[in-house]
Amino acid sequence: MIAIIDYDAGNLTSVKRALAYVGFEAVITRDPKVLLAAERVIFPGVGAAGAGMASLKRDGLDQVIRQVRDQGTPLMGICLGTQIIFESSEEDGGTPCLGLLPGRTIRFPEDHHSGGRRLKIPHMGWNQVRPLRPHPLLDGIPAEAEFYFVHSYYAQPADPALAVAETEYGLTLTSVVAQGNLAATQFHPEKSGPNGLKLLRNFCTWDGRDA
């Protein structure tokens, strides 16, 4: 069974619906027992890092997510979930995060330009996700595939080896990271059409091993 972590962060049902569409039942839960017993766990999220971390801590889910990671359960972060996996975020005046991966989440520059054009923040819409190395999550997905992003902050892994794919938006940001049984995307696979569904299906059959 697949568990989606419920921590009051945005529209969690869209992930559940996308999983159902590719043939996998999921439960949305904050029950530690269910999360620890799940075959795989998704850590999604839309919203702000401060409120997200506060909600996780209130329910003791920060510890539960660490346990899920440590016991080897395939774990996938999406958007805010991905940002919170790192050590800290600049959002909400600086928010200490889970620290499952080394690095921090920073904001796009205020006056963000590229090619003479002002780049709008949030980075919202479809952008290309360029693989840097193979990973089971990206199996069968074309190298030029585009995914749906909506975010104003992005995670910067401290270790370049964590990066699986990157995306250009006036700067180069890491759009997929992975290490062991943990993989995470800055974009929303559940809103990214057939390629996003394929990525979710890949996660649902992944054995939790990196490459």
Partner: protein, 260 residues
């Protein structure tokens, strides 16, 4: 780099498409969910539903449309029309829409923008603006005025001021619809779109006037729009989204090509 978006707009009344949309094969599709699905498969980057249901006691029908759509298509879609309160927003978002759009209701009660952004995040709140070109005056220094009630009522608000005010209140995106060009098929309102897109740091969707593929290139490239809304140009089968995108890609406009 980020792709420019092509966004079909579907008008819905009492749970049915208002226009009997007619495609190759002359199949009339009245069901907005099927239609959204069709556009999803055709390569639409996003879908907009505009609910023109008159009576508020029939709004549950739209919620059902949203819920069914969310089970069928996996790209973002938004719902506008009749969104007046935080509770209206909550219901549409919980049913599976990615964004809600406010228009007249935000002019009457600008706080709805702030409340929506605080509760659900700016990325969920689109400010729709119906704009008419007017003589430049002291109250309308930009020469474009905001209208409400489907373009029937003047508000005395300067469009440029309102765009910035909407941004300040927390809107995450603006949809700028020109009353002048709407339905003309002579192209988008370039001056208006450019003026607003360059004045705000949030994405701007241009609306009203698409008739030819090159109208998209013009508004996306020359007027700096981040996305373009379409209706009749594809609803009646004159062009497919693929044809529009091929035209754009052939002229160097970055668009999403991988949807199959």
């Amino acid at each position: 780099m980020l792709s420019r978006r092509i966004i079909p707009c579907l008008d819905v009344r009492d749970g049915k498409l208002t226009k009997g949309i007619r495609f190759q094969g002359n199949v009339d599709i009245g069901d907005p969910v099927q239609m959204a699905r069709f556009y999803y498969e055709q390569g639409a980057d996003e879908i907009v539903f505009y609910d023109i249901t008159a009576s508020s006691d029939r709004r549950d029908i739209m919620i059902d449309v949203v819920r069914r759509t969310a089970e069928e298509i996996f790209i973002p879609f938004s719902v506008g029309g009749g969104i007046r309160t935080l509770e209206d927003m909550r219901r549409v978002l919980l049913a599976g829409a990615e964004k809600v759009s406010v228009n007249s209701s935000a002019v009457r009660n600008p706080e709805i923008i702030r409340q929506g952004a605080d509760a659900f995040g700016s990325q969920c709140v689109v400010l729709g603006m119906d704009v008419l070109k007017v003589p430049v005056s002291e109250t309308i220094p930009c020469g474009y005025e905001i209208y409400i009630n489907g373009g029937r009522t003047a508000t005395g608000l300067d469009a440029l001021w309102w765009a910035k005010e909407g941004r300040r209140l927390g809107a995450g995106e603006l949809c700028v619809n020109s009353i002048d060009t709407d339905g003309t098929k002579e192209g988008y309102e370039m001056t208006l779109t450019r003026m607003i897109s360059q004045a705000v740091d949030i994405p701007v969707i241009a609306s009203g006037g698409a008739g030819l593929p090159d109208h998209f290139r013009a508004v996306l490239e020359e007027a700096d729009a981040d996305a373009a809304l379409i209706a009749s140009i594809t609803h009646y089968g004159e062009y497919t989204i693929r044809q529009l995108k091929e035209h754009l890609a052939g002229r160097g406009v970055k668009i999403r090509k991988t949807w199959e």
